[in-house]
Structures are given as C-alpha cells and as structure tokens.
Symmetry: C2
Subunit: 476 residues, 2 copies
C-alpha cells in the first residue's frame, strides 16, 4: 500500500475517533498536575502514572527515572516527579526519533478569571478549554494517539520512538539537564532526531516550524550605600544615595529605540545574510494583530520583517525592576540602603555569554568611574542561557515541511522564538543531533493564561502532521 | 522671693520627686496607645481619658474636641480619638502660651527586636526604656508636672497655658488641621506663643532650639506602555518599554553630589547671609558620629557647616523607588506595563510649592521631547508641604535660650530639622504667633525604633527648662 493510500485511511481513522481523543485529553486535564504547587505533587505523580499506563498499553517500554528531591522555600524536601523514559520499537534498520514533552501544567483556578473549570476540559465552538490542553498534554497525547492508530490499522510504525516526558517543566525543569547528561552514552546514544512539540504557531491560521531561540543573560546590579534605610528629611542632601547610582547606571543601558548602549554588544551578532533576509519576507505576520496582542499602539519598528528580526535575531535589553527600593502604594520618604537593579539581555548568534558578561561589567565600571560615589557597586550575571539556532533546510526540517504541506496544503512559515526553551539546547548538546520544534497549537492558545485552549482542528491536524513527519523521517 | 530663690526650691522639688515622675510616665507608657493599630483605638481613648483626668486634677479646664471618623482600608469607619483642648488660668494680665503634644505612640512589639517589654517602662543605667517614653508622653507629662510643682510649692503660675493634645500624630495627624482652622477665632485667638516639645537634640549632650523645618514635594512619574505586562523574550526589542522612559527621566533629576538638575530649582533658595552662616560654626556637631548614625563611610560634604546646611537650608532630592516594576527576589523576565517612579524634593525658604511643581513638570516634558516614545507619561505632585522657619532671635527664642542657660549652663545650639512637622506651620498660620520647637530628648532616643528611651537626666532637666521658659516668657 502506498503512503498516500495508507494516509487516507489513517486520516479518516483520526477523524472518526475525534470524540475518543477529546475524552482522552479530558482524562489528562482532569488531573491537576501543577508542578509549582508542592501540595499537588501527588497529582503530578498521578499524571505520570496515568501516562505510563497508557504508554504501556500501547507497548511502549517505560522506565521511570528518579531525579532526586526538590528543596522547598521552608527548607523541607519533597521528591521530584520521575521522568518517563519510553522506548517504542528497536528495529536497527529504522531511525530513532526522540520525542520530548511535559506532563505538568501551570497553576490555575477559576478565581484567576477562567470562564470554565480549568481542570474540566470544556468544548466550546470547536475549542477545548482547560489547563494543559495545549501546554503540553494535548501534544504529548497526540504522539501516543499516532502510535495507537498505526497499531489499530495494523501498519508497521515507520521509526523507533524514544520518549522523554518530564513533569517539572513549568517550574524550571528541575533535575532534567543532569538526567540527560547522565543518559548521553546510554538512552540518548542512538537517537537520530529530536522533536519537541511545546510551542505555538506565529498566528492562528498558518503552521510554522521553529528553528531558533534567543538566549538570555540576566543581570543584577547591586548598590549598597549605608547600613540602614535612612529618612530623606534627616539625611537627604548629605549622603550618596544608592538609588542615584543605580538609576544612573540603568539609564545608560538602552535607548528609546531599543538599541543596547553597551560598547561592543553588537560585535558578535551574526550579520544578516541575503538568504536569511529572504526567509522573513515570506512569513505571514500581521503587525496590527501583534500590536493588539501586546496591547501597544505602535511598535519600535514598523515593517513586518524588522519587527520579526528584532524579536528573533537581534539582541534586546529589558529593565525589569528594582529590589529593595520603595515599591508600595502611596508616599514613603525612605532612602533605601541597598537596592538591586534587574535587567536582562536576550542574546542571539554568535554572542557569547562570557563576552556579554565582560562587556556589561566593563560598562558598569566605566559609568562608576565617571561618578564620585563611595557606594559599593557590583554587577552579577545571575543567570545565563545560550541561544539555539538550527538550519531550517536540514533534512529533519525538510521532512517536517513536507508533512505540513501534506496535511495543510501550504509550506509552514520558518520562524524563531524570542524567548528561551533551555532544554532544546541540552538535547542538541547531549545527542549531537538535529532538534526540531514542531508546534501544533495556535498563537492564541493562551498557554500560561486564563482560558487556555486547544483547537480541535489543531489537535486533529497535529496528529496527521506528526504521522507524516515520522514517515518522512523514515525516508531520510 | 526672687526667681532665683524660687527656682532653687523648684529644682530641688523636681529632684526630690524623680521617683514619682518616673512612676507617672510608667503609668502612661503602660497604655499601648498605638494610633496605627485600629484594634487598639480603645487604648488610645484610654490614654486620652488618663491624661484628661490628670489635667483636671491639676485644675486644667478640659474640653474634648470631636474630630470625626477615620476610614479604614477595608472601608469601615472608626471614631478618631478626641483632641484634648486644655485651659489653665485665664489671668488677662498674663501671657497665653499654647503647648502642643501627642498621646499616641508608634507600634511596638518585643518581636521587633526590643530588649524589654515596650509597654513596661524599664529603668537601666539612668535611661527609661519604653514606647512613648520620649515620643511624646515624656514631654507632655513634663509640662503637667511643672504645673503640679508650682501648685505644691504654692507659687502663682507665671503664664496662662493652653493645651492641644492630639492622639493621631503617628498616623498623619488626621483631623487636626481642620480642627485648628475651626478654632482660629475662638480657642486660638488669644494665644501669644506656641511651644512644641516633640523633637530631639542634635546630639546627646548639648541642648538645642529648632527654628526651621524643610518642606516636601512628593512626586509620582507615571509611565504606561501597554495594556498588559509582557514577556521580555517574546516582545523585548520591539516595544517601547515603560521602564526605559521612567529610568531615563529619573536619571536626570539629581547628580552624584546631590545637586538637583532641574532647571531653576535653586532660583528661589534664600541666599546665605553672613549672619546665618555664623550660626552654623557655633553648633556642636560631630561628623564622624553623624556618619556612624547614618551607617555611611563618608558624606557628600566634609565640613560640618556644609553638612548641616545641606540638611537644613538647601533643597535635596531623593529617589525612593518604583511601583509596578518587578521588585521581588530572583529573576523575572517581565516588561512591566505600568510603572510609577517616586521621588521627593525637600524644599526650603523661599521656594514655592507651585513653582517647584511647574519646574518639575517642565523638566519631564523637556526630557520626553528628546525621546521618541509613544508611551503615556504624566507627572503628579502627590503631596506638598511647606517649609517653616522662625527667627531664632525672636523674643520667645531668647526666652528659651535664657532658660537653657539657667538649667544647663550653656547656650543651646540653634538648629533646624531636615524633615517636616507639618503641624508647626499650621499653628503659626492659625495663631499668627511665634512657634518654638523646644526639644528635651536626646538624638539617640530612638523615637520610632526599637528600644525607645528617655534619659532620666533629660526628663528632669527638661522640666526645669520648661519652668524657666514660662518665667522668661512672662517677662516679655
């Protein structure tokens, strides 16, 4: 039977079983596996068990990997939920595709402003509302539904699949990086491709593949002026205030057009090649929709291409706030003794974290040299995460593009994300293989918001794309 | 009997009754009249009753003035404590001296770090520890002790005394200004002098009289960029961030030497006359003690005179903080949608609040003109309070200086305060007469801190100074 004939049967099978798929997703959403709530840890474990049981029913060999304990704010420790390592098929002649996903969800309660019970999957106008519906229970279950469909239709699966399903993603993926490093020469050693469906289309209509993420360097500027907070009436005018130094430093970092003012910060930014530039013009992206999503009247750039480039392929600097200063309502006449200014730089190819750190350090030192202040000023890279970028013309991407065309009838946009998904880079480093970000949800799914939803059409089409993607990868 | 002879008897009487005075202060401290705690309002009322009863025992005619209700944060209302209006003597040939003081205290609990029970007056090494001991129960009781001593010694009192004793001072003197305005043509109409003992010496050893207070203009800079907080990964680099505008504006307000950078801000500052300059050199003030009190290694100015002038007679600008930005621990990659920067300017003779407001408005407008930003920026004078300054050579001050010499054997320092006591100005405006700040506590009394105390020597000498002050005022 040709692929095309089989796919007709397969797609019909998916369509015929839509109700079952919705019910399965509903079963998963009903388990409130909120990783940020320690008192819900047993629900997270229940979600792991539920998934394990489904996988085993499908013949996936499952191993639960212990990743240690989580230290809570009050000092007590609780067990981190096990990571599911699944293996489906071990045919040496087939490609090994690793699927990553997560089973935990963001916190949610009706009082946050949900129109429905967040942990009851509710269908309205072709949309499935519920916490975790799109992030990331829907996509994870989709992968498993695909395996099930092949089995029912008695068709050999085109590839071997490995699963890494964690349950702390919404709380920083505690313990996962160490686990992946420890699996480098065992579970991960024979992986050919890694695919992750845990992100979203650029818009609501057109599918995309993502080939890049920005990294981040998060800085703390620490300024200490005295051993105690002072009264501005008594001491104002005679002491070197910490806030004056801090605000001055913070004001020298970025201009009104978003350009970073730190010397040398653009030196390592990859020049824009004509080929890359061409990618942008093809992308479907509506500037006014973007403005209304952000809730702004206008953006810094006006052209679509420029906006996308500044989200994805240029660095940016945001001033987040100040810890230790007066932040309440009303008037308080305090001179804060110790303030910490917080800002971060989104980094892009080919910036190096160590270089960024040095440039920022030098910049702050230079500024302080021009000031006559005895205050203790220090700058610290609190957190650094690298950018990630893939070649959107590499074979795995070509396979996914073909799969998208087969299902949606159009070429997917080739996009990036402005934020970070650190685990992407870890998978690339530990397998040494191509990683593909294959979103199936739409831009308005509201992953971390109230009324998170997953469109039924995206659920159904997602499974179809995943199926053809496996077939195309098998041909490589 | 000459004043000198009587004063010998009077001072001996004070010394002989030290134990009784300490016990009386202990009785007052035992009533936890915390005005900031609504659930303690009955204790505040009890303190009013206790004082009224003591005053009536001494023959002071007492009227309780209702000043209305206080609206709590939850919307409920509770009665404000009555203000005591007392009248002692009505001899038309005598001067009428109005004494202001307050019966409420700052919050206190052992867990704040007190070494003793805050509401049990505890004597250690000549110091009386307890909340309210120096602020302001000690001074208020001192005035009454003086009246009692004259009575016991059967000596006619040199002046008529009026009392205004409020019990909301530590919570913004709610209702008092309106009351004083309503009393302008009645209770206040025949007042000749106003005296307030509710502040502290400049140091621990040398008495002072205070003849000036700075005013304050507290500003909010409000910047709004979008309808929701944004993720810096997704939107950073493409939107005009509110924080960038705010931090830039805040960085243009004051330099590293405390000089205000707003055009015209020094135009109305009274020039320093040689006579005023001379006042500063005489003052006992130790720069290294000041530094250690502030917890700083060095001050902006190095000379004693310059430091005092910048605390008292020059304006200063302090940056207090930002509301609406990220102010917590750790890293949050937020682009805050709406931020409010807070700063205040301490104002001095002859600055006008309305001029200061206009200058700040113009400044912010000028800065924003140089920026290409669509964000909504507004500046608001949230609170304005005028400076106050008296002539330290006016007759009432001369009387208080003579009283200080008579008791302490030295001329008091003539000082100002850098902060504001708004009611001072109200008394001056409503009576049209001289107001004297006559501190009796020492600089290390810790009025609003843990372990507030009142030295027994200050308590005793304070009553002596008060007595001679009345005698000297009677001669004017």
């Amino acid at each position: 039977m040709s692929n095309e004939d089989f796919n007709k049967r397969l797609f019909k099978y998916f369509d015929d079983h839509q109700k079952d798929y919705i019910q399965r997703l509903g079963d998963a959403v009903r388990i409130p596996s909120v990783s940020a709530w320690p008192d819900h840890r047993s629900e997270v474990v229940r979600m792991v068990e539920w998934t394990k049981s489904l996988m085993e029913k499908l013949g996936v060999k499952v191993e639960l990997a212990d990743i240690g304990q989580q230290k809570l704010a009050d000092g007590t420790k609780i067990k981190l939920p096990d990571v599911i390592l699944g293996t489906y098929g071990n045919d040496k002649t087939k490609k090994n595709v690793l699927v990553y996903g997560h089973l935990d969800v963001q916190p949610a309660q009706v009082s946050d402003g949900w129109d429905t019970e967040p942990f009851v999957l509710t269908e309205k106008h072709g949309k499935l509302f519920g916490r975790g519906s799109t992030d990331d229970k829907g996509p994870v279950i989709s992968w498993l539904n695909v395996i099930e469909a092949y089995q029912t239709l008695n068709e050999p699966f085109p590839v071997n699949v490995k699963f890494v399903l964690e349950s702390m993603e919404e709380y920083g993926s505690d313990g996962l990086e160490d686990l992946l490093k420890s699996l480098k020469n065992t579970f991960l050693s024979d992986v050919d491709y890694v695919v992750i469906s845990d992100s979203y289309w650029l818009g609501k209509e057109k599918p995309c593949l993502q080939y890049g993420l920005r990294g981040i360097c998060y800085f703390f500027i620490d300024v200490e002026s005295s051993t105690k907070d002072l009264h501005s009436g008594v001491f104002g005018g005679t002491v070197h205030e910490a806030m004056t130094d801090l605000i001055t430093i913070m004001s020298t970092l970025v201009d009104d057009q978003g350009r970073i003012l730190i010397n040398g910060m653009y030196d390592d930014v990859a020049p824009l090649s004509p080929a890359e530039e061409q990618l942008y013009s093809k992308i479907t992206f509506d500037v006014s929709t973007y403005c209304s999503e952000a809730g702004v009247k206008k953006t810094i750039q006006t052209e679509k291409e420029k906006i996308l480039m500044h989200r994805w392929r240029y660095p940016s600097l945001s001033l987040h706030g100040i810890q230790g200063a007066f932040d309440g309502c009303g008037c308080k006449t305090v001179i804060p003794r110790h303030v910490i200014g917080k800002f971060s730089i989104r980094i892009v190819p080919n910036m190096k974290i160590s270089t960024v750190e040095k440039l920022v350090e030098n910049h702050v030192k230079q500024i302080m040299k021009t000031r006559n202040s005895p205050n203790k000023v220090s700058i610290k890279l609190e957190h650094g995460g690298n950018y990630w970028v893939a070649d959107p013309n590499n074979p795995q991407y070509v396979a996914a593009r073909k799969a998208t065309v087969a299902v949606h009838g159009i070429e997917p946009d080739l996009t990036r994300e402005g934020g970070s998904i650190p685990i992407t880079l870890t998978f690339q480093e530990q397998t040494g293989k191509s990683v593909l970000l294959l979103p199936v949800g739409a831009s308005d799914d509201g992953a971390h918001s109230q009324n998170e939803k997953f469109d039924i059409s995206n659920y159904m089409n997602g499974m179809k794309v995943m199926s053809v993607y496996f077939q195309e990868v098998a041909k490589l």
